[in-house]
């Protein structure tokens, strides 16, 4: 028996009291959907968890109508203080039911319980707590006095952090005075349903938050609904593009948080022990199914061999397996289709000449699993250095000078995240200035906080979530009539210049 062979330490699922079927959450009630219900499974076992309703276009219509009514009749008339108090209630209820939410999240998503318990759910509570306090302080949000809410917000979220992404979307929207129709990802609707129960417990007015479950067509019906004022989407760049197209010219305010191919830059003076842990956290946290993952390791040539050797040693100690086991480091991949993409791109990586390495591991027979993987001898032109794999796959590249590191890091259409590892503060600051990415972690990685804005440059999307900036996605300035009247503004008519001379 090696030091790694612990006895199983599974978190009990007895804390869950799941229904055999969940409806849509519209106007404060669970109602059956008119689409074809579907099963949600545990990706670790492929066992059925429960049945989820599918919202048809008519259901989406009903949800938007409920949100509109709640906006007009209730939420927009409530004081900021009272909106805030509802959000504080929600934060407290999330804290009270934290263990239950963590178990449900791990069961449905496949992520290790230590992550859902110690990262996802605490951040969910923190997000509501943070934005609760903003609700009656919007004059300080940076948009001038008396900023306006937008109306009904349509929000579509991904499966990698189901409850956390829900919190990122709903908390600022409600604080700013909007009402919400949210669509969780098809494979991870469970915790959104539990969250709906929390809203009932909090006595949130009916219709302020509506949750419609379903797949792509449901999401498309939601973001394209004519009575929606705001669209917020987190997910793939391809879908983000299509939403940017379909909302063009509609006046809907749009924020997009899309893909990434984050560079994690390790200089030769980096604190190596911390850097190794940071590299592992950067790409193997949540099985690498993280839009801001540090999926490209840029390591200074002089320490390449040492870093790779130590990474391999560290990866050999990671425990892959039952996500509910408290000792598990790497859980299950969320779905068969995601697993297929990881396999395909990794195979391409080998075909293109990169060297593939994974630690010896016995992956479970049932469920969706992918071993932590490192590719060395990677060139910038390789698919595995360019495409978002969205899995536990690290591509290692090298550099000699800071300028080369910066050029390689920025050589991507994405611009979401980057990491810098160096003991030299002046170098960290200078490199951070040059990186074209929205979130940069210096001597750390994958840190999140409700006070800290998050979002991308370039094709990683636009708008920010978190912090004071995150409120801006859900507010508009008081009115446009406040600009100083210009001397010649009367001349600047709506029509083009006439033909008269």
């Amino acid at each position: 028996m090696t030091f790694l062979e612990y006895a199983p330490a599974p978190e009990s699922t007895a804390i869950l009291d799941l229904k055999s079927e969940y409806g849509l959450f519209i106007n404060g009630e669970f109602v059956p959907g008119n689409g074809e219900s579907f099963t949600t499974i545990s990706p670790a076992t492929e066992q059925k968890i429960t049945t989820i309703s599918c919202a048809s276009e008519a259901d989406v219509d009903a949800a938007v109508a409920a949100a509109r009514r709640a906006y007009e009749k209730t939420w927009s008339k409530l004081s900021g203080t009272d909106r805030g108090k509802y959000l504080f209630r929600i934060a407290r209820l999330v804290q009270e039911r934290a263990r239950e939410l963590a178990v449900a999240e791990t069961l449905d998503n496949g992520k290790p319980i230590k992550e859902s318990r110690d990262v996802d759910v605490p951040l969910v509570a923190a997000w509501f707590f943070y934005y609760a306090g903003w609700a009656d302080k919007l004059d300080h949000a940076g948009m001038g006095p008396n900023p306006r809410s937008l109306g009904v917000a349509a929000q579509v979220i991904p499966w990698n952090f189901p409850l956390l992404m829900l919190a990122w979307k709903i908390a600022p929207a409600l604080a700013a005075g909007n009402t919400v129709v949210l669509k969780p990802a098809e494979t991870t609707s469970l915790t959104a349903m539990l969250f709906a129960e929390i809203l009932q417990q909090a006595d949130l007015p009916a219709g302020v938050v509506n949750i419609v479950t379903g797949a792509g067509p449901t999401g498309s019906a939601l973001v394209n609904h004519p009575d929606v004022n705001k669209v917020a989407f987190t997910g793939s760049t391809a879908v983000g593009r299509s939403i940017a197209r379909s909302t063009a010219g509609t006046g809907k305010k749009l924020t997009l948080e899309l893909g990434g191919k984050g560079a994690n830059i390790v200089f030769d003076d980096a604190p190596i022990d911390q850097a190794i842990e940071g590299i592992v956290n950067g790409i193997f946290f949540n099985q690498g199914q993280v839009c801001c993952a540090g999926s490209r390791l840029l390591v200074q040539e002089s320490i390449h061999d040492e870093v790779v050797d130590r990474l391999k040693a560290r990866l050999s100690t990671l425990r892959v397996g039952d996500p509910l086991d408290k000792n598990t480091d790497i859980g299950a991949i969320n779905s068969a289709s995601q697993l297929g993409r990881m396999r395909e791109l990794s195979d391409i990586g080998e075909q293109e000449g990169a060297t593939r390495w994974s630690p010896d591991s016995n992956l479970p027979q049932q469920g969706f699993w992918f071993p932590p993987t490192i590719f060395t001898n990677v060139s910038t032109s390789h698919r595995i250095a360019r495409d978002e794999i969205f899995g536990p796959v690290l591509s290692v590249l090298t550099f000699r000078t800071p300028a080369e590191a910066i050029a390689k890091a920025n050589n991507t259409p994405y611009g979401l995240s980057a990491g810098i590892w160096s003991d030299k503060g002046s170098r960290v600051l200078a490199v951070a200035d040059k990186l074209r990415a929205g979130v940069i972690w210096a001597n750390t990685f994958n840190k999140f906080d409700p006070a800290s804005p998050f979002g991308g440059y370039k094709e990683s999307g636009y708008g920010r979530e978190g912090g004071r900036h995150g409120l801006g996605a859900y507010l508009a300035p008081a009115s446009s009539g406040t600009a100083e009247k210009s001397v010649v503004s009367a001349l600047m008519s709506k029509t083009p210049l006439g033909g008269s001379k």
Partner: protein, 292 residues
């Protein structure tokens, strides 16, 4: 007795990469002017083409790192310098505006003055907008966490097409420059002269070559090439209300450009810090603090 002096009319050319160039297409178009004024009754302006637009984007991209890399204090001085140089040439611009817009000399002068003052106003923002739009974030952990806005990159602008050809142009272009973006701008199609002459002011105001690139011609013809260009980061449709601007926005979605929709009426493009910050990206940097 000498006859009245024969004037020397100017050839109105594009301004790309710091140079005054004819359209590579060899095309010009007639710009109507008021009879009896200081300009010829009909003036030709270069009619920009797709290739000119692409050349302009190349020049703009090449100028980004230099312009974005200057300090806000320095950019502010350069923008203020534009106001100084424009102030010294008020009469020329008033003539061009009066001739091409058909307005009185007084109205034309008022427009030039307002345009000058607008450069001064935006110049002052260059070393301040970061303080207003940025934030120190109190995260729950041992980290120094700072959010700062940075320029988006290359911004394509469709200048207002109505009356107020110089002021509309400055309202569109000045705020984009404040943070360090570079610009490719399609001027007022019917009244392009003031904007083309503004290129001369920019060229003599320490604005680096390529930072502002001015195209005259048909916005309907040129704009789609800018909207689809992968090396353009953002699109300001301020003056695009009479174009198929929704199509332009749809085209821009392919590379997820940031897009500002058209504005109409006298307040279109009115001075605002929002026009500065829209063309910026917020970068948040987490710095680890040691545990002592």
């Amino acid at each position: 007795m000498s006859a009245a002096r024969l004037g020397v009319p100017k050839t109105y050319k594009l301004y790309i990469g710091g140079k005054f160039v004819r359209s590579e297409s060899g095309r010009v178009y007639e710009v109507p002017t008021k009879k009896g004024g200081p300009l010829l009754n009909t003036v030709n302006a270069a009619k920009g083409s797709r290739k000119d637009a692409r050349d302009a984007v190349t020049a703009a991209r090449g100028a980004v790192s230099g312009w974005a890399g200057t300090s806000g204090y320095n950019r502010g001085q350069v923008l203020y310098r534009i106001a100084e140089v424009l102030d010294g040439r008020r009469a020329q611009f008033a003539d061009e505006i009066a001739a091409s817009e058909g307005v009185s000399a007084a109205a034309a002068t008022a427009q030039v003055d307002e345009a000058i003052d607008l450069w001064v106003w935006y110049a002052g923002w260059a070393d301040k907008y970061v303080q207003v739009a940025g934030n120190a974030n109190p995260v729950s952990g041992p980290y120094f966490n700072l959010s700062t806005p940075e320029p988006t990159g290359v911004v394509a602008v469709i200048a207002p097409q109505g009356a107020g050809s110089l002021l509309g142009f400055v309202r569109a272009v000045a705020p984009v420059l404040v943070s360090g973006n570079t610009v490719v701008v399609i001027g007022n199609e019917r009244a392009p002269l003031a904007a083309l002459s503004l290129g001369e002011v920019l060229a003599t105001s320490d604005v680096p070559a390529g930072v502002v690139n001015i195209l005259s011609g048909s916005p309907a013809e040129i704009a789609p090439w800018l909207a689809s260009h992968a090396d353009v980061n953002a699109l300001d449709l301020l003056g695009a209300e009479h174009l198929d601007w929704v199509d332009l926005q749809i085209t821009a979605a392919e590379t997820l450009k940031r897009v500002l929709p058209p504005e109409t009426g006298p307040d279109a493009g009115a001075p605002s810090i929002d026009r500065i910050t829209f063309f910026t990206e917020t970068k948040t940097v987490w710095h680890t603090k040691g545990l002592i």
